[in-house]
């Protein structure tokens, strides 16, 4: 059963009661919340995702709820709870859906150590995966959203899960997080894209989430072989330019962006070195998403 098959009343009942068990790629999360914005966000953006049996195994048990303090009535807040404990400070209540997304990212990056986990977007075309590791503000998520709006498969806009045994990347296709000016950029670039309502004044500014394509969700069990590493950088007014990046530098960039490279020790080194050896590596400067799509489509066609 997928989430869209659940009547809204039952979705809300499960969230308020025993919990909704939602599969996103290799991860099942048991989600509880009585907060309407969360149910609305899930119904809007997670309709194609499988809902697992109530008795089944859940990797993460999370709750989105007001903290137990007076702020329940005065400037209400929301808190992300993991196994009953809040790993983060509470945020204003209107940030219920963003805090859920950020919290799930934290669950994966802090616990899925059977993968080498990188802070990177991953998209796929023609069977090849492109890793986009980059710091916040580099235009990574905007580029990712632009590419998936033009037929690239989304594996993740935030977390690359590398299987140490195979070297392949496991999909974790969840909504793409857009911030500030990127929201309007994507609205113009892909008017058909489904976006959540904009939430203002978060720690990251204004945020909205873009639904992952049904194809990306359907192929959530289909890993992809890394083929390109691209360090994107948005630069207003810049002409799109793809320049080769020495593999040594690409390795260091990926190692720096990993959440658990140190934990994997020598095996992590081998996995990353194998990945970089098997990829073509580039730096990419861009201002216009149409240019970016044209360049990356050509790259995929020539693979």
């Amino acid at each position: 059963m997928k989430l869209a098959d659940l009547p809204q009343a039952e979705l809300e009942e499960r969230l308020r009661g025993a919990g909704l068990r939602l599969r996103t790629g290799p991860v099942v999360s048991e989600i509880r919340s009585a907060m309407p914005p969360l149910a609305e966000g899930l119904a809007l953006l997670y309709g194609e995702y499988p809902v697992e049996d109530r008795d089944g195994f859940a990797d993460f048990h999370v709750r989105i709820a007001p903290p137990a303090n007076l702020r329940r009535w005065w400037r209400p807040q929301v808190q992300f709870q993991f196994d009953g404990a809040p790993p983060f400070h509470p945020l204003p209540a209107d940030q219920a859906f963003p805090i859920f997304e950020w919290g799930l990212n934290w669950c994966v990056s802090a616990h899925c150590h059977h993968y080498l986990v990188l802070h990177a977007a991953v998209v796929e075309k023609q069977g090849g995966a492109m890793l986009l590791p980059a710091p916040p503000g580099s235009g990574k998520s905007t580029l990712c959203a632009g590419l998936v709006s033009r037929g690239w498969r989304l594996l993740s806009d935030e977390l690359a899960l590398i299987d140490p045994a195979s070297g392949d990347i496991a999909p974790l296709a969840r909504p793409v997080s857009l911030k500030n000016a990127s929201i309007e950029v994507i609205r113009r670039f892909a008017p058909e894209a489904r976006l959540s309502p904009v939430v203002h004044d978060t720690l990251k500014g204004s945020v909205a989430h873009m639904q992952a394509s049904a194809d990306s969700v359907r192929r959530a069990a289909e890993p992809a072989r890394p083929r390109w590493v691209v360090l994107p950088r948005y630069e207003a007014g810049a002409k799109a330019a793809l320049a080769p990046l020495p593999r040594g530098r690409a390795f260091m960039q990926l190692a720096d962006s990993a959440f658990n490279y140190d934990l994997h020790g020598a095996e992590g080194f081998r996995v990353l070195a194998d990945l970089v050896e098997g990829c073509r590596c580039y730096e990419f400067t861009y201002a216009d998403l149409d240019d970016a799509v044209r360049i990356f489509d050509a790259l995929a066609e020539g693979a």
Partner: protein, 91 residues
């Protein structure tokens, strides 16, 4: 003074586009070495014994004409490798 690497079993390394990336399990750190530093480390690893600065410089020079600049360049590189915990000096 002679030089040698830390025990090779604590190092993992890979040549990537003529750049040497090396991980030191003792420190937990990973380093991207300059081409010369990478070559010096490769020489010390393959020698499997201590070497003097002049011996290392000779190996780096290979078939090129003799020039004191080779030894000067290697002398510049060795302290950096030492700080990174990849080589040690023996008095």
């Amino acid at each position: 003074m002679r030089w040698h690497t830390v025990p090779p079993e604590v190092l993992s390394w890979r040549d990537l586009d003529d750049q040497l990336v090396v991980r030191n399990a003792q420190s937990g750190n990973t380093h991207l070495l300059s081409p010369l530093a990478g070559e010096v480390l490769r020489i010390l690893l393959s020698a499997n014994e201590t070497m003097t600065l002049a011996e290392i410089a000779d190996r780096v020079r290979g078939e090129e004409p003799e020039d004191p600049e080779w030894a000067a360049a290697v002398a510049d590189v060795l302290p950096g490798l030492e700080r990174q915990g990849l080589v040690r000096r023996v008095a």
